[in-house]
């Protein structure tokens, strides 16, 4: 296993009007949109566990699961990125949860940040989802 995208939580992020954050974030080009409008991973064996998608998902719909051959059955890690920090939730086989917080960005640099509305590029536009980002206070 690599990641699991919960189809009940995924809302498609405005696809196909805009490229979705998870699809855009994946360094391996592994996430695509199903005809149902839900995000899906094409090949979990190709996933690197980098967590780029789980941090950016506004719906908190994605988690990492380690493969059975490495560590056994149920386990997961979720994360959410905020402007200056990331909050992580790690769950073990018995369902015990542990939360971590990591610093992600200097507070002093936040003033110079581009506003989320400017957070676009030409090939795949963020437009359409940028509002979601502002609302949730989530950062890249």
């Amino acid at each position: 296993m690599g990641i699991f995208i919960d189809p009940n939580l995924c809302n498609g992020c405005g696809f196909p009007q805009s490229e979705t954050p998870c699809n855009m974030a994946c360094p391996g080009d592994l996430i695509y949109m199903e005809s149902t409008g839900k995000a899906q991973i094409c090949c979990n064996a190709d996933c690197w566990d980098c967590a780029a998608c789980i941090k950016i998902c506004p719906q908190h719909a994605i988690e990492i699961n380690l493969p059975f051959e490495i560590v056994g059955k149920e386990n997961s890690i979720k994360a959410r990125a905020y402007k200056d920090k990331t909050i992580w939730t790690v769950k073990d086989e018995k369902g015990n949860e542990q939360t971590f917080e990591t610093t992600a960005r200097n507070e002093t640099s936040l003033q110079s940040m581009i506003s989320p509305e400017e957070f676009t590029d030409t090939i795949d536009s963020y437009k359409g989802i940028s509002k979601t980002f502002t609302d949730l206070g989530a950062d890249i």
């Binding site: 296993m1 690599g2 490229e19 855009m24 974030a25 994946c26 360094p27 391996g28 080009d29 592994l30 695509y32 094409c42 979990n44 064996a45 190709d46 996933c47 690197w48 566990d49 980098c50 967590a51 780029a52 950016i56 990492i64 380690l66 493969p67 059975f68 051959e69 490495i70 560590v71 056994g72 386990n75 997961s76 890690i77 994360a79 990125a81 990331t86 992580w88 790690v90 769950k91 073990d92 086989e93 018995k94 015990n96 971590f100 990591t102 610093t103 992600a104 960005r105 200097n106 640099s109 936040l110 110079s112 940040m113 581009i114 590029d121 030409t122 090939i123 795949d124 950062d139 890249i140």
Partner: protein
Amino acid sequence: MNPIEIKKLKTDFLIIGAGAAGCFAAYEAKKLNPNMDILMVEKAHIDRSGCLAAGINALNAYITPGNTLESFVDYIKKDSMDLIREDLVYTIAKEVNKVADILEKWGLPIPKDENGKPIVRGRGSIVVQGERIKPIIAQAVKRELKDKILNRVVVTNLIVSNNKVCGAFAFGLRDKKFYVLEAKAVLVATGGASGIYKPNNEGQARHKTWYSPFNTGAGYAIGIRAGAEMTTFEMRYVSMRIKDLMAPTGAVAQGVKAKQVNALGERYLEERYSKYGGHGMSTPMRLWATLQENIEGRGPCYLDTTHLNKEQSEKLKAYYLHMTPGLTLYWAARGTTPNTDPPEIVGTEPFIVGGHAQAGYWVDINRMSTIENLYAAGDVAGGAPKKYVPGAAVEGMIVARHVVSRFESIDEPTVAEKDIKDEIQRVFSLLDMRKEVILPDELELRMQKIMDEYAGGISSNYVLNEQKLIKARKYIKDLKKESKSLFGNNFHELMKCHEVIDRLDVAQVLIEHLIYRKETRWPVYQSRADYPERDDKNWLKFVNSIYDQNSDVIKIIERECKPLDKKLIEV
């Protein structure tokens, strides 16, 4: 094959790869000349591409207090068995701290000690909270380049005419277009090559690798096919890593001063290998000693973290979230913590990567390759090991300065229509369903098996000998012929096809380098069973190569290893 839409773009400076080297090149060039046109192409998305997608928890090239430019160079020279390009390493040393300052200004958190100085983790390494280093770098570059970044565009070849670069060919993963990117100067700044050898893990875990599995050697391959001179591919990089997740060890070894112990609890580096330098021995030798312990029945080996208290253990877990979050989950899933479950250490499969070892383009002091106006920086630039992220960034800035100083005098690039037609055929014909097809995963497995068994992979304890290498040479050559049957069902698969083709070209060059160096210079990285000794009299020199695509012949060139001449650099 459906007709493919061709998109032609023209620029002054084309940057291939939006990693540390490429981004710092763009930033520096825009700073020096805002009017120069820059175009950046990236296979993934600039925000989370390449090695830095998950983040990093240290900057590993830094002049720490008590060290000097000279001691930085000397350390890397000693750790690389005296064979490095001192001129390149010295110019990197001059600016690594500046890179840290720039990153901090952009927003990278760099924790400080009570005197306001960065926290030194080890020799030449400082702690950073770098989970978001890639988006932070990307944001600074997007501000400068605006719409001049092409994400999800895969470069397939360089355009070269009369030994001058004129641009690159590429295809878009999303828009499905064929790109003809004409440029006066081109910087190759992609990652190195993983996935050439059979990895530590298989099946669903095959991509739990240390080095990014998405760095598939394209930067090397396009240069090889264009006839650029390459250096020191034989210095592979085999890394000592935490078993299963293949997480980096620096955070444990340097960060919490964990010692390497064997199954008997012995600190084996000091107790058994003191004549090789004990704990202070070179990076490849520390790994070699670990492999020896396993061969002699004293494995597994660990990084001893049992001295940590509970709080330190928790901090260590959190620290890994900045780089390898899977490891934090690993401890949780096992119901353990570092103080009760010290990480087991093993060697990775061999990687070809110039940022850690020194395989790459043979470049001059400005990082120009042997092809005019073609530059290389970061993992694909040869001769300067242990440059890591800061060194890659410095190299990008060095390239930018040279390009800015001369792009106006470079002639307009020209591209022949026939070359465009041929490349379209080569790139997209793999989408056509044929009678006999091979899937990219199948070819990858076969390549990895050959390299593992005959070219010193994990299963052969990394050991090389001529007879096996000659078999590897033949089998890889045969496999290259079979790669014509590759089939991609969609554009993602098409990219995977070309990633395997690229790695076969890298493997072919690698094998020739491994055959040519008849000594053992870097234990584990390059251990020749038939030439087990280091031989400075005959081999303290660079092994370089040029590939001729038409004849499919690789010509080997020897280059002198020169001492540092600072006068040449200051000019």
